[in-house]
Structures are given as C-alpha cells and as structure tokens.
C-alpha cells in the first residue's frame, strides 16, 4: 500500500507543478504558441489523472478502448463541425 500511495502523491506533485507551469505560460511572451502549449500541458495532466488515479494502467484492453472510442468520437465532432464551418460560403 505504501508504494501505491507514494506513486499517487508523486503524481499529485507533478500535477501541481504542471498547473504552475500553465499559469506561468499564460504570462510568458509566447504569442500564438500560448494556446497550443497550455492545451498540451492540460493533456499531460489529464493523461496522468486517467492513467494513475483512474487506474487505467491496470484496466483491461476493452476498458481502455472505451476511452479511445470517446476521444475518436470527440475528434470527429470537432473535425466535421470545423470542416463544415470552414467551407461554408457565408
């Protein structure tokens, strides 16, 4: 139990550091890069929570596939709406 708890505390420390980094990035002179960088940091944070806290690393392949399916569906939603808006004549 000790090792499992230590791992989770370490992940939490990493998450807090990433949060500080996100806020730091907001005030840094990065211009147009700021948005993709803060989204990338958010993705890393979310991945840590899902992989360790939600214990996806111990889950079956089928369970992991459910998450992949949700992300694919979300990607399709954004891709197709974006395409639709981009090629619109109005």
């Amino acid at each position: 139990m000790g090792a499992a708890i230590t791992l989770r505390v370490l992940v939490w420390l990493g998450l807090m550091a990433l949060l500080a980094l996100t806020i730091g990035v907001t005030f840094a002179p990065l211009g147009a890069w700021r948005f993709p960088i803060s989204l990338a940091i958010a993705t890393v944070k979310a991945a840590l929570v899902v992989w360790v806290f939600m214990e996806l690393r111990a889950a079956s392949g089928a369970t992991r596939l459910v998450l992949v399916a949700a992300l694919v569906a979300l990607g399709l939603l954004m891709l197709l709406s974006g395409l639709d808006a981009a090629i619109r004549a109005v």
Binding site: L19, I23, A42, F53
Partner: protein
C-alpha cells in the same frame, strides 16, 4: 478463480470488477461527449472570433480559477488514496479520503460562487444584473459559453459531492464492507476523477484564452 454465487454470471471477482469498470467508463465516455459538445463550441468560437475570446477572457479571474484547479487536483489525490485503501480494507483511509474530497468539492463550489458574484456585479451575467460592459456579440458568446460550461461542471461537482459523501457514510457505517465492496469505492472515485479531468481542460480553454 472459482465463481461464487454472488459473482454470477461472471467467472469470478476479477471478471466482475473488469465488467464493472468497463461499464463505468462507458458512462464516463458519455459524459466526455456531453462536455465535448461545449468544447467544440468553444473551439469554434475561438477559431472564428479570435479577438472576441481574447478580449473577454481577461475578465475571468485566473487566480480563482487556478485555486479551483488546485482544489480539484488535491481532491483527486485523496480519492485515489482512498481507492488504494479500500482494496486493503482500510476503512479509515476511505472515509477520511472521501470526506476530505467532498469537503474540497464544497470549497470548489464556494470559490465558484465568489467568482459568479464578482461577474454578476460586473454585468457579465447574461440577462441579470448591471448592463454588460461587453459591446461586441462574439465576446458575449464567449462569456455565455463560460457560464454554461462552468455551471454544467458545477452541477457535476455537486453530484460528485453527494456520491462521495454517501459512499463515505456507507463505508463508515459498514453498509459497504471492505475489501468486499472496494469496487464501489473505486467506481465512485472514477466519477470524481472525470469531474477533475473536465476542469483540467476547462481551465485553459476559458481562463487562459487571453491574448
């Protein structure tokens, strides 16, 4: 592993746990799609009215939003530790972890309330309070999306608080014996972690969208 009557129709406790977790993730995937629609709207707004989002975003309090992010991340840690404790039958860890996370959830809602009040006084709430300082239509769209997304998220936080508190009480009163019912603890925790993950994305999309 031989099947006990309680685990039927599964082959054993492990198969049952896998199925339970699978089902929970299917539900969580539907929640991802729910918020995904809002994320798509935010992305569309940002792509097609980049100046407006950047103009309205600085009106959001990045420090209150950041504090709320820290609150949720810490509550997720407590829930994760509780889930480990549940498997070992450590009742006190579960009760303390879930109760602590529920309290942090209440703190989240309180901070959110402070923010909403601030925004109400500045005239940013659509239809309520003083007239809006925002002129352009796209800026009010961004603020409107902020209110809808955070209100929907806050509702989920409220539901999560009830689930966590209910589970903590159940474990404390031994209605949920451990480690027999560790799966219940684990699944309730999964909902809370998803609430955290959604906020992890909402925070940069809303608060950090400034120029």
């Amino acid at each position: 592993m031989s099947a006990s009557a309680r685990d039927m129709p599964f082959e054993g406790r492990r198969a049952r746990l896998e199925a339970d977790t699978f089902g929970m993730f299917v539900f969580l995937a539907s929640e991802v799609m729910l918020f995904g629609g809002l994320f798509a709207a935010l992305a569309y707004d940002r792509l097609h009215h980049p100046g407006a989002a950047a103009g309205a975003a600085p009106r959001l309090d990045i420090w209150l939003g950041g504090a709320n992010t820290a609150v949720l991340l810490t509550s997720s840690l407590l829930v994760a530790i509780a889930a480990v404790g549940a498997r070992e039958g450590a009742r006190r860890w579960v009760v303390a972890g879930f109760a602590g996370a529920a309290l942090l959830g209440v703190a989240f809602l309180a901070i959110k309330g402070v923010e909403y009040r601030k925004e109400y006084l500045e005239g940013l709430m659509p239809g309520l309070g003083p007239p809006s300082p925002l002129g352009a239509q796209p800026a009010t769209l961004f603020i409107g999306l902020y209110f809808i997304a955070t209100a929907l998220h806050a509702l989920h936080v409220l539901v999560g608080i009830v689930l966590l508190a209910g589970t903590a009480v159940g474990v404390a009163r031994r209605r949920l014996p451990l480690p027999a019912r560790a799966a219940t603890v684990h699944l309730m925790g999964l909902y809370w972690h998803l609430v955290d993950v959604i906020w992890i994305f909402l925070f940069p999309l809303l608060y950090l969208a400034r120029p």
